[in-house]
Amino acid sequence: MRRTFLLILMLATLLSHATTSTAQQWEDHQTFGNDTARVTLRILSSTDAAYLAPIITDFVAPYPDIQVEYFVTGTAEIYDLVLQDPSAFDLVISSAMDLQIKLVNDGFASRLEDISAPAWTQWRSSLFGFTAEPAAIVLNKAAFAGKSIPQTRQQLITRLRADPAMFQDKIATYDIRRSGLGYLFAAQDARSSETYWRLTEVMGALGTKLYCCSAQMIDAVADGQILVAYNVLGSYAAAQYAHNDQIEIIIPDDFATTMMRTIFVSNKADNSEFASAFVRFLLTASARAPAPDTLRLPLLTDQNGEDARRMIPLEPSIMIYLDRLQRRAFTQEWESAIDQ
């Protein structure tokens, strides 16, 4: 009892420290451009710097007066940081569409009326999607050698049922209780097709391992610990194992739940002009086909599997996945399917 109390106290101190201290613990922090620059554009992002570094370098190159500070942290953290101090960052990039939508809905973004983007890639001229990244099934190539590769969820179910011994404890998916993106993918899958629940039940019966992040799942598949990872960010897998033939990335043929990475300019931004210039620069790059070398993420305009793409709508209705009651109900259902 006493220990629990101490633990809570420690946690609380840690938390308050983390939130109030200026010495934020960043996953990554990089600076682009001239150190003597007059203007510093602060970008808060959930996307690894490696993916956006080239395009930021391109952006600052013609302006010796602009410096870009790039801070990387988790999506939930990003949401909290913006709530705490909307003026601390000029731009916010996140893969959590629901949290981004909520920030815009709650009035933290400024409108960029002069940017024209297709309706489905923007909301309120404030929040702009600049990538379209489908949830993929990642397979261990060696395990499927000589066998047919499942292309749909139904085929995957059939495959798993056909050889339960082989897949026992060797399947992975997001723990939707820990990952916002995993939750978003699961909820969208459930909305799209009843197949999702059957697949989840099959996976649950085979003792599926639950992960917090795509990268770890992909690593596990690559070294053979896991044979099948479901609802993994295919873009990460492709980037991590671009020249590696250990994994096979499958975008399901029946439907591919696709999320957008989104960006908005804080309405308290100090450098809103440069910030909106960056958004314009990023959107121009992401609308170009073929993809420029500087953007290492799947583009909105990517035509591969366009028909099967099931975009998560960039609309306030996805805030429903943030609702406490909704989340509790869905999680309960999911738990009863996955924990068997």
Binding site: N105, G107, E315, P316, R324, Q326, R328, A329
Partner: protein, 466 residues
């Protein structure tokens, strides 16, 4: 164009001596256009507010549907309230203007989920309440609904608030306002054109009547017979009545003039005859002298009366000219013949030079009168044993009388033809001062000119030309 010109001209000449207060045309136009403006404004306001109401009702209905679907999703599971939000409850709130929305769910007044700072109003079961509030720095329309669920541990009241910003609504309202303005403006334009037409049509009978009255000759006193609108009937009736009375009184005065001339001249002639007869019977010098003076006075009165009546008749006839085609030479010949005896009595040689035909369009009585007055003057002021030359020429028709008298006084040559003015050098001759006035009036009535001159070799020259 010419039509308008005539009408405007007629109005101008009439307005010269008519007191004008206001204008029917302007009054009509102002009332009609004013009414159109007011109606257009009312139309705009009504359409706009009605559409705004409908638009608001539409938003209310969507909010209400959202609230209801959330309320309906509530169940009591294992004794606890469970609300699995239906996706549709949120997705129906998507608008083209990307409106923001907010929601809150309360259980028995305790916040359960959503935006904890969104106003919560406890409501009885089954009622939906709508309100416009300010939330998150924006005008927001909220719908509040409630539902009672009966669980194992007793009744539970669920309250759901769903709010949405009004940006899409504002867009709709702006569009509607634009259309309503277009409608009102169009209505106004159409009504204005209609007013212009209506005014013109209403005024037309009036201007037509004015033009027809104005076009008439001075002697035309016939009643107006062309049909007029009922409202103008009293005016036209009165006008016709007035003209009838005027015609009547003109006829009467003509008769009066003839009667008066007759009544005054005849007794004077009688008195003169008696006086002359008496003169021949009286021998005493002073009596003869007195009688001669009497005859002179009678002559003077008779002549004055005659000329006064002539003048009155000419004034009357000048307004009612009865023009016919006349031969000026014939008139002159007849005049010279009738005046011949008087000239002989004074030993005056009267010569006439006239071509066969000199056409003149005029009133015979007036012209005869004028010519006689000219010649009469010449005879009166000519010394005995002199000569008078009467000349008629054509192009333009001219009647000229030259005598060998003392002529006009140079200083008075311009005023001698005015009423009751006589030359300062003729005190010894009988005259009323009306002779040349009559001539001048006749000349004016016939658009002619009277020219008075003194001849270089002495004597006057009177010229009447048409």
């Amino acid at each position: 164009m010419s039509d308008f010109g005539v009408r405007d001209g007629s109005q101008d000449t009439q307005n010269e001596n008519v007191a004008v207060a206001g204008s029917l045309r302007r009054t009509l136009m102002i009332s009609l256009v004013g009414a159109a403006l007011i109606l257009a404004a009312i139309l705009y306001i009504v359409v706009r507010s009605y559409a705004a109401q409908i638009a608001q009702t539409t938003q209310d209905r969507i909010l209400s549907a959202s609230v209801t679907s959330i309320l309906d999703a509530a169940t009591i599971r294992n004794g606890a309230l469970d609300v699995e939000l239906p996706y549709a409850a949120f997705s129906i709130l998507s608008t083209p203007a990307d409106d923001r929305f907010f929601y809150a769910i309360y259980q028995d007044g305790n916040f359960l989920s959503g935006y904890s700072d969104l106003d919560y109003l406890p409501l009885p079961d089954g009622q939906m309440h709508f309100e416009s509030i300010e939330f998150a720095d924006a005008p927001v329309r909220i719908a509040v609904g409630a539902r009672r669920l009966i669980g194992a541990s007793g009744p539970v009241t669920l309250n759901v608030v769903v709010g949405q910003t009004k940006e899409s609504l504002a867009g709709v309202l702006n569009r509607i306002a634009g259309h309503a303005a277009l409608l009102g403006g169009g209505f106004f334009v159409v009504m204005t054109l209609f007013s212009i037409w209506l005014t013109a049509v209403s005024i037309l009978p009036l201007t037509r009547l004015a033009a027809s009255v104005h076009r008439r000759g001075p002697e035309d006193l016939r009643p107006v017979v062309s049909p007029v609108p009922g409202e103008m009937a009293p005016l036209v009736g009165s006008l016709n009545n007035l003209m009838r009375r005027l015609d009547h009184s003109l006829n009467q005065s003509e008769e009066f003039i003839a009667e008066a001339a007759h009544r005054v001249r005849t007794p004077l002639a009688t008195v003169r005859t008696y006086a002359e007869t008496t003169l021949q019977r009286v021998d005493k010098l002073e009596n003869r002298q007195a009688l001669r003076s009497m005859v002179r006075a009678i002559d003077e009165s008779s002549r004055a009366a005659g000329q006064l009546l002539d003048h009155a008749m000419i004034t009357f006839r000048a307004d009612h000219l009865t023009k016919t085609h006349l031969n000026l030479s014939d008139l002159a010949r007849e005049l010279v013949r009738s005046m011949g005896p008087i000239a002989e009595m004074k030993d005056i040689e009267l010569t006439l030079t006239a071509p066969k035909d000199v056409a003149v369009n005029g009133d015979a009585i007036l012209l005869q009168n004028a010519l006689r007055n000219i010649l009469d003057n010449a005879l009166k002021y000519s010394p005995p044993e002199s000569s008078i030359t009467v000349t008629v020429t054509d192009n333009p028709a001219t009647f000229r009388v030259q005598d060998q008298g003392q002529g006009f006084p140079t200083a008075e040559i311009n005023t001698v033809a005015t009423r009751f003015t006589r030359g300062s050098n003729v005190a010894g001759v009988i005259g009323s001062g009306l002779g040349l006035t009559i001539v001048k009036d006749v000349a004016t009535a016939h658009d002619g000119t009277l020219t008075l001159n003194n001849q270089p070799g002495g004597g006057a020259c009177v010229e009447l030309s048409f």
